[in-house]
């Protein structure tokens, strides 16, 4: 079955076209759907989206259990982001958090309750009362499955509003047309997994809510499907990506799998050990030891592995030791994470140390937007009719390091803004002309992947990419490590032009999709590494051993990476770096100490 006939192309018209059906996309749909003809296009079924994997909570200064204020939340967010946060955006996030939580409750979300029946709240890292005085209970939660309940509630409300979904449709391109000298989106082009057909979605306004791209790393808490396609499309169409060098690593992911083990394990007395059984954190942070801040712990763990003291067949992890704790304490305080260890590693935490390693968790950077979720075409101008929200976007409310519980908040606040603003735009806009060759790029891309027989393995290239990213662009970075990664990526890009696929069919061809996804992963890994090379300082999640301090004089700015000459052999010609000022309102940058 290797027919080369042109696949059928279907044209659809919607006022608002939303790409992605996770938290941000569905929150936008709930605003847009009742007011405008809206389509939600998702590479998955909506309930499979990775919002559902979030556990801890959603921050909002409801003050249901103790005094709190959105102003304190604003400050914590800015300080947590190591002052790379745009302060006006952080204020919006913290202020609108309260309505965002109430909206979800009113929609049906089953939050845990206080004894008097209000939404309960609990503590989370970096969230404090009165500008760092003490931890504050700000995280609204539903057991340890807050993300699951948000995703379910939003999907249920999409059902209520009769939102039109296109499930298992992969958006692979966006068509921009020139209108009076301004580039504007006219359509997105999608590949239908079930049939192999091509669909062109014309729209008046478009929202990208496509999530993250943690699969550029080998060890990640991200889903297999988080390959950054949406962010990659934006980049390939010449629009900038902001602060991509900032990627959050959580210290204790299950080794090899990246599934999170909460910090509570160390709070209850858990100890990190290397392959020799040594409590290595004593060497790095003698006073705080295993309860040092996340970035320090993650860097220390990575250093143990790098110096050959890791455990396992590939010496690529350390151990979280709970064996000195009473089983009753483990059962009472740490039931879920110990269950993960049993299920996934077959390790019994009562008697065996649990293999752990920092896990790639969250992209702070992404598609630059205004506070109204409008996508930027450079440091000042917007792309009219194009919006982005959620992990794929960079407002920037997370700066150089995101606080826990602020991402479930981000998707709700800026998803809602994107939905409302897209509807407003669509009301006064017309469909833009659709070029005759609109679908040709995707048809060629899909056919090339479907018939590829160059001999190189997609899985092997992907593994080499992930391995080099873990080794060279993880929690420790240097000019040398980043240059090595860039060299590897360049060679992998060359091999990518000679891949093979096996499935020649049109129906449910996940083989060709993995090949296409790899292309996006390669692009984004390259942007990350190149942006990291340009940031010669250490800030938040980006630690340069050759520039170990924060340099506000030169780098209190957002990185803006543009695709330049895609076919150039030199990466410096493929990517151009610009800068965008950080918005400072009430909080002058200070040294970040806790």
């Amino acid at each position: 079955m290797s027919s080369t006939a042109r696949p059928p192309v279907q044209i659809h018209e919607f006022d608002v076209v939303i790409v992605g059906a996770g938290g941000a996309g569905m929150r936008a749909a709930i605003e847009a759907g009742p007011k405008a003809k809206t389509a939600v296009i998702s590479k998955l079924y909506p309930t499979r989206s990775h919002t559902g994997a979030a556990q801890g909570g959603m921050a909002a200064a409801l003050a249901n259990v103790e005094e709190d204020s959105w102003e304190w939340h604003t400050f914590d967010t800015i300080k947590g982001g190591d002052y790379l946060v745009d302060q006006d955006a952080a204020e919006i996030l913290a202020k609108e958090a309260i309505d965002a939580v109430i909206d979800l409750e009113n929609m049906g979300l089953p939050f845990n309750r206080t004894p008097d029946g209000k939404i309960d709240q609990r503590r989370f890292g970096g969230h404090t009362r009165d500008h760092g005085q003490a931890p504050v209970r700000r995280a609204c939660y539903a057991a340890d499955r807050t993300g699951h309940m948000i995703l379910q509630t939003l999907y249920q409300n999409c059902i209520k509003h009769g939102i039109e979904f296109f499930n298992e449709y992969y958006v692979l391109d966006m068509i921009l047309v020139d209108v009076d000298g301004v580039r504007r989106p006219s359509a997105v082009v999608a590949y239908e997994l079930a049939t192999g057909d091509i669909h062109v979605f014309r729209g008046k306004a478009f929202i990208f809510a496509t999530g993250g791209y943690g699969k550029i790393y080998k060890t990640t808490s991200n889903a297999h499907t988080l390959t950054g396609d949406g962010v990659g499309i934006i980049y390939r169409r010449g629009l900038p990506l902001e602060d991509v060098e900032f990627f959050q690593f959580h210290p204790t992911g299950l080794a090899g799998l990246g599934i999170l083990l909460s910090e509570a394990a160390r709070g209850e007395g858990g100890i990190l050990r290397n392959a020799d059984g040594e409590r290595f954190m004593e060497r790095y942070t003698p006073s705080l030891k295993d309860l040092a801040p996340r970035d320090i712990v993650a860097r220390s763990m990575a250093n143990e592995v790098r110096e050959g003291r890791g455990g396992g067949p590939h010496k690529d992890y350390v151990y979280l030791d709970l064996t000195h704790l009473e089983p009753a304490v483990i059962d009472a305080k740490l039931p879920d994470i110990t269950e993960f260890a049993r299920t996934y590693l077959g390790v019994e935490p009562y008697t065996e140390p649990v293999p752990v390693f920092p896990t790639a968790h969250y992209a702070m950077g992404g598609i630059p937007t205004t506070n109204d979720a409008e996508v930027l075409s450079n440091s000042t101008d917007i792309v009219p009719g194009l919006y982005a929200a959620g992990e794929c976007a960079c407002v920037s409310v997370h700066g150089a390091n995101r606080l826990g519980t602020n991402s479930l908040l981000d998707i709700n606040v800026f998803g809602k803004r994107a939905g409302n603003n897209a509807v407003e735009f669509a009301r006064s806009a017309d469909f833009l002309p659709l070029p005759d060759d609109a679908a040709d790029g995707v048809i060629a891309m899909v056919e090339a992947a479907r018939t590829a027989d160059g001999g190189e393995s997609v899985a092997a290239i992907r593994l080499e990419l992930q391995t080099t990213m873990d080794r060279n662009a993880q929690v420790y970075r240097t000019e040398d490590s980043l240059s090595e990664a860039l060299g590897v990526i360049t060679s992998l890009r060359e091999r990518y032009t000679r891949i093979s696929t096996h499935d020649r069919g049109r129906r449910y061809n996940t083989d060709l999709l993995e090949a296409i996804e790899l292309g996006f992963l390669l692009d984004l890994a390259e942007v990350l590494v190149y942006s990291a090379l340009g940031r010669k300082e250490s800030r938040g999640g980006h630690f340069r051993e050759d520039y170990p301090t924060r340099d506000d004089e030169h780098f209190l700015v957002h990185t803006m990476a543009y695709r330049n000459d895609a076919d150039s052999e030199s990466e410096s010609e493929r990517i151009r770096i610009g800068w965008k000022p950080v918005v400072i309102t009430n909080y002058p940058p200070m040294e970040r100490k806790y």
């Binding site: 079955m1 998955l44 309930t47 989206s49 994997a53 297999h224």
Partner: protein, 253 residues
């Protein structure tokens, strides 16, 4: 023992994670090929820590790229990779190979009772249609005053906690003998979805949902075989939830 006293190091595993060869027999079907559905055997080298999903990836990435299945989160929360493994419905990402009998072939096939589209992929639309038809969204009679949350006691919240865990993976519905023979039956997952709202103190449309489930294809088709409870990867007491809906139909909510 305090941390300071915990001086003796544990026995840290030092060697290789054991590897072995497993025989995975997969039900293959591709209507484009013109071939009938058939079993295909693969020998896969697996680590002791690997799950069925890892074995399927190993086949796809190293032996046969055309092997087709759904997966996403890979740790049991997204519900993409429910399938029949040795005759039981499970999530491939939560099934450790070493927990199966690896001296015998491991049989992997698509969920039963939904149309097979290709290999391990089934058509999920009938399943989601049933879910959508029970009106699975909060329908309160009034809007809360002063723009705040509705009050709900801890006990009221606990009443429907179990059924909020559902990830819509379809493992329960496609383990049900009634559903196998009667695709019109709503199935356990849709009833779980209805239960989650019927017993939510904030909701006022319970009677509407009960009417829907009182249909001849509704809860009364359940024969209490407990297959659904056994199949649920989230540990939901599905059969109990169905029984509570039946009781509500008889005695009121």
């Amino acid at each position: 023992m305090s941390i300071a006293e915990a001086t003796s190091s544990p026995q840290v595993p030092s060697g290789e994670v054991p590897t072995f060869t497993a025989t995975i027999v997969v039900r293959r079907y591709d209507p484009e090929s013109g071939e009938e559905a058939h079993w295909q055997e693969f020998a896969v080298t697996v680590h002791a820590t690997d799950r069925i999903l890892d074995a399927l990836h190993s086949i796809k990435w190293e032996q046969d790229g055309s092997l087709t299945f759904r997966r996403s989160c890979a740790h049991g929360v997204c519900g993409s990779d429910a399938m029949r493994i040795n005759g039981r419905n499970r999530l491939a990402c939560k099934t450790l190979i070493k927990d199966l009998d690896i001296d015998k072939p491991i049989y992997v096939e698509p969920l039963k009772g939904l149309p097979v589209e290709k290999d391990l992929i089934v058509d999920m639309e009938p399943f989601f249609d049933a879910y959508r038809s029970v009106q699975p969204f909060l329908q309160p009679a009034s809007v809360p005053e002063n723009g705040r949350e509705r009050n709900q006691s801890v006990v009221q919240r606990a009443r429907f906690d179990d059924t909020t865990k559902c990830i819509l993976c379809a493992a329960c519905t496609t383990s049900c003998p009634v559903f196998w023979t009667d695709g019109q039956y709503f199935g356990p997952a849709a009833i779980v979805g209805a239960h989650r709202f019927i017993f939510d103190s904030r909701d006022d449309a319970g009677d509407v949902r009960l009417d829907i489930l009182n249909d001849k294809e509704g809860v009364w088709r359940c024969r209490t075989t407990f297959n659904c409870t056994e199949a649920c990867p989230r540990g939901i007491e599905v059969t109990k939830a169905i029984a509570e809906v039946k009781q509500a139909l008889v005695r009121g909510i």
